[in-house]
């Protein structure tokens, strides 16, 4: 980097503290490779279980590593990585999502008769990328992390090999995704041209002092295209329903939460920390569009996966509202939202996964008829997630929306708040359709619901508990998010980059 020249004694050899600050990533990489290595070494049938267990162990170890990393905040690897409460928060979110996904996948793989060790390895690698996205403070590293996470998810989306729709999903995601990342990279290049650096701190400094070059506007817009694609914000959302429909159900749960959370972390850094110019209106328009298109699109869906795809577009819209608010409130509101959304959506997809059964036959709304009779517990679980997605009190989804809209009102964004509030009322309708189906319609055939396996049960229990915890006692998580927002926006002495432009 340019910044090297400015420091008197460039530190060339990474120190041990540098490695501590990427410990979760290292753990994920090691376990991912272990899964890859164990796959051929172990025999046939038994491996699926073992590999899943290794993968789960990897995520748990990574959670431990994150807790350890949290004790050593600061910069690492020549100011490319910053560990602060902000990045620790997102580490926890994405790694927990990965853990729940692995728990859900285990039963899924058996039911679908898929056999592939690399499946779990790819989840771990993808998570590595997502985790890195939240702690990277250097645009090129962010780009690399984005690619790591994306490539893993491209492959995972195509895992139902026997079905053309899955291949279509994977290919669509891959083509459009690479297109979008190219936009992002282009934006990074322009930003480098405008400010002379790719380090977010330096960019913020350059943009904060002195005139803002026109190039920076273009750079911000292009980067927004790239990230907007990843979070499925309108007008870059077109891929979402098709990809979600074809991809394996547990992977959709992962895709709609993990990479999204990480991409929002990146967007928070770009919008609030680097405070790129012109972001406000881009976000305002995109938020309004996403909420409206997502909710209206979802109204007419009969396939639950597609319905949840549109719902995820709408939620991206609500989340974007926070980006138009004041930095501190907006950041913490957005952080809380990603956590709550991750908990409820990954849980909802876990239920969808279970009900889909062999070859994902049962994924239409009709198939959910009478579920309240056939499997009361599963229906109640899904109801909690859906109520949370509606934003009913006592669930995480309620507080998430609440914080976002109150942050928006504090910033006097009355128009955007009204659009959002009206949209969430519209949104209630289609989530309600699923609940109505489950409880108030008779099922056509008394198809018995397969018993829930232990691993899926644990995954569901964790998501339900998290959803309710965030809805009843959101205080601690919100405090943590507040702290994260503060640390991101006003880095402490040790975390401030030593370089100056």
């Amino acid at each position: 980097m340019i910044s090297f020249a400015a420091t008197a004694l460039p530190q060339v050899i990474p120190q041990s503290s540098d490695y501590v600050r990427i410990l979760p990533e290292l753990v994920l990489a090691i376990f991912g490779m272990a899964v890859m290595a164990l796959d051929p070494l172990l025999g046939d049938r038994a491996t699926q279980k073992t590999l899943g267990a290794v993968g789960l162990l990897g995520t748990l170890a990574a959670l431990g590593a994150t807790a350890y990393m949290a004790q050593a905040p600061g910069l690492a690897f020549w100011d490319m990585i910053r560990v602060d409460t902000f990045s620790v928060f997102f580490h926890f979110v994405v790694i927990t999502v990965a853990a729940i996904t692995i728990l859900t996948s285990h039963e899924y793989m058996a039911v679908q008769q898929l056999r592939a060790g690399e499946y779990y390895a790819l989840i771990l690698f993808g998570t590595l990328g997502m985790a890195l996205m939240s702690s990277a403070v250097e645009l090129v590293l962010i780009f690399i992390a984005l690619e790591i996470s994306s490539i893993a998810t491209y492959i995972l989306a195509g895992f139902r090999r026997r079905f053309a729709i899955s291949g279509e999903s994977s290919l669509k995601y891959f083509l459009l995704g690479s297109f979008a990342t190219a936009f992002f990279l282009y934006g990074v290049a322009l930003m480098f041209g405008a400010t002379g650096s790719t380090n977010i701190q330096v960019i913020a400094h350059a943009l904060g002092n002195g005139p803002i070059p026109v190039l920076a506007y273009a750079a911000a817009a292009l980067m927004f295209v790239g990230v907007g694609f990843k979070v499925a914000a309108a007008p870059f959302h077109v891929w979402t329903p098709d990809v979600y429909e074809g991809a394996p159900a547990p992977i959709v749960g992962l895709m709609s939460t993990g990479p999204k959370a990480a991409a929002f972390a990146v967007l928070l850094r770009i919008v609030f920390e680097a405070s790129v110019p012109g972001a406000f209106w881009l976000i305002w328009i995109s938020a309004a569009l996403s909420m409206t298109i997502g909710n209206i699109g979802a109204l007419v869906q009969d396939n639950v996966k597609r319905l949840l795809a549109y719902s995820s577009i709408a939620h991206a819209g609500y989340l974007l509202v926070a980006f138009a608010a004041q930095p501190e409130l907006g950041t913490s509101a957005a952080m809380f939202y990603t956590a709550a959304y991750a908990a409820m959506n990954v849980g909802a997809f876990a239920v969808v996964t279970h009900l889909a059964s062999r070859d994902e036959r049962y994924v239409t709304l009709e198939d959910y008829a009478g579920l309240g009779h056939r499997s009361p517990l599963l229906a109640a679980t899904l109801t909690i997630f859906l109520l949370s997605l509606i934003g009913i009190p006592a669930t995480g989804g309620f507080f998430a929306k609440f914080y976002v809209f109150s942050a928006a009102l504090k910033a006097n964004l009355v128009g955007l708040t009204i659009i959002g509030v009206l949209n969430s009322a519209v949104g209630a309708y289609y989530y309600l359709r699923i609940i109505v189906m489950m409880y108030m319609k008779e099922s056509r055939e008394e198809a018995p619901v397969a018993p829930v396996s232990l691993s899926l049960g644990v995954g569901l229990a964790v998501s339900v508990l998290l959803t309710l915890y965030l809805g009843i006692l959101p205080g601690r998580v919100l405090d943590y998010a507040d702290e994260g927002a503060r640390q991101m926006l006003h880095p402490t002495e040790q975390a401030v980059s030593q370089v100056s432009p």
Binding site: I392, F402, V421, Y429, G475
Partner: protein, 504 residues
């Protein structure tokens, strides 16, 4: 346990007792009888606990009693703030009084998915009580929205006919309307930094809320829309007949008995409490809507061929009296409004139970399918007549007191309002007594009705309390009014003082 300690936790206990019962029910095996008995025990215990409130209520002390105020979430500043005054306390008692009766009346009429039914019923009770205890805007909204789901599920799962349509309509109407209330609350929080009702009230009174004068009309409307839909006020009442007709009996009882009062309670507590000046300002058109509701509800009730729909429309008419009383801004009108709320809760609750009893036997609510029921079912006919008379407003029964007071209030506010509203009393006598005549008097028109069984002991057990309450409330209304009056008067001086200041 010291008395102070009990006073501090009594509201929490009363509110969450049913929820705790619901959670315990989750663990029960599906033996329907045990589940019913347990639900009955829990609801009776809750009622017993709630009796603590009037017994130890300090009649002459101003302000809220049995208060708890603990921080729930630091940022945003949300408190677990509960407390009751003479207005909310009686509504809590109404809820705890009606719930055991709901359990009794659903004893055999609900036979499928019994466990879920009673779990939903108990959760609903917690949410309803919570609405009346909450003194933190956020907490209020929390409970307010929480009432929606159990009620919608009760309608949708255990109702009849077009139950899904009714459930979804009910849910969406209320949900969309309360979103406006939430927006108003968020605005208030953004400007005052608190959700506490009393803090916000003081801030507004002292003129410390920046931009309040411009925003006040919108804030008033935001709250008002949410409450008006719930009441329901004409013209946003269309969800009510649907919801009532399709709902199971217990759902109707709680819906008409308690849930509609959430709206009028909200008007008293929030519209009058926070925006006295706006309330004065908007009173004329609101009172006109209330009058339309009274007359229109009564006229539509008269032509209903369906007994339950008739009772539903009569609720619209009765609740019109409540709104009229509230916006008359007189002490007697407000106290009368509160009394009508309680009386209507008891008598309409009983009417819905009576309708449910006949439905259980005949599976129809159509008035034409009955006729001459007094001979096969004399006890039933007697109860029905007693409750109909209470509802019509016969002196010495509970309906009379409240209506008389609200009418007096309306006269004081503007004579013509009083005159129009007074016709409502005549209308209600018309439709209820006519209905009674068609159902019970004359010869038995359908021979198969001769074999109808009269009330069982369990059904009588469910009806006796309502009949006794209707009589006691009619004979000794002061037991209630002595506590209601001071609470209502604290609402008034504020309103008048502020309006005077604004008038100058």
């Amino acid at each position: 346990m010291s008395k102070e300690f009990l006073h501090g936790i009594i509201l929490t206990l009363v509110t969450f007792m049913p929820l705790a019962g619901a959670l315990l029910l989750l663990l029960f095996p599906r033996r329907d009888r045990d589940i019913r008995v347990f639900a009955l025990v829990i609801s009776l215990l809750t009622f017993g606990l709630s009796l603590h409130l009037p017994v130890y209520f300090q009649r002459h002390a101003a302000g809220f009693q049995y208060e708890v105020d603990k921080q729930w979430i630091a940022s945003p500043n949300i408190h677990y703030h509960m407390g009751v005054d003479g207005i909310s306390m009686w509504l809590i008692l109404l809820t705890t009084f009606l719930t055991p009766l709901c359990v009794l009346i659903s004893w055999t009429s609900v036979h499928d998915r019994v466990k879920e039914f009673f779990i939903l019923l108990l959760i609903l009770e917690t949410a309803l009580i919570g609405v009346f205890t909450a003194l933190d805007l956020f907490l209020f909204y929390f409970f307010w929205e929480s009432t929606l789901i159990p009620m919608a599920l009760l309608i949708g799962m255990y109702g009849h006919g077009r139950k899904i349509y009714a459930a979804v309509k009910f849910f969406l109407f209320t949900m969309v309307a309360s979103v406006f209330m939430l927006a108003a609350m968020l605005w208030l929080y953004a400007k005052t930094g608190s959700f506490d009702l009393l803090v916000i009230q003081n801030a507004i009174r002292d003129g410390k809320v920046e931009g309040f004068l411009i925003a006040a009309p919108w804030l008033f409307l935001g709250f008002f829309v949410a409450f008006a839909v719930k009441v329901p006020l004409f013209p946003v009442h269309t969800w009510l007949p649907d919801a009532h007709v399709e709902a199971p009996t217990a759902g109707s009882v709680l819906l008409a008995g308690v849930m509609l009062k959430m709206g009028t309670y909200g008007m008293m507590r929030f519209n009058l409490g926070l925006f006295p000046e706006q309330s004065h300002h908007n009173a004329p058109w609101i009172m006109v809507l209330a009058l339309i509701g009274i007359v229109y509800g009564a006229l539509v009730a008269m032509v209903q061929p369906n007994m339950k729909k008739l009772i539903a429309y009569s609720s619209i008419s009765h609740l019109g009296f409540v709104v009229l009383g509230i916006f008359s801004f007189t002490a007697i009108g407000l106290a009368g409004a509160e009394f009508v709320m309680l009386a209507h809760g008891v008598s309409t609750g009983a009417l819905f139970m009576l309708a449910g009893i006949i439905y259980e036997r005949k599976h129809t609510y159509e008035i034409k399918d009955f006729g001459g029921l007094a001979s096969p079912m004399p006890v039933y006919a007697t109860f029905f007549l007693f409750i109909v008379l209470a509802s019509v407003g016969l002196p010495m029964l509970n309906g009379f007191v409240g209506e008389f007071m609200t009418l007096t209030g309306a006269f004081q506010a503007r004579a013509v309002y009083g005159i129009i509203a007074a016709t409502g009393v005549i209308w209600s006598a018309c439709y209820l007594l006519w209905m009674y005549q068609r159902v019970f008097y004359g010869k038995v028109t359908h021979p198969e009705n001769n074999s109808l069984l009269d009330l069982s002991r369990r059904e009588q057990l469910a009806l006796w309390p309502t009949a006794v309450a209707a009589l006691v409330m009619g004979v000794a209304p002061l037991l209630w009014l002595n506590i209601i009056n001071p609470a209502v008067e604290t609402l008034l001086p504020v309103s008048q003082m502020v309006s005077k200041v604004a008038g100058q």
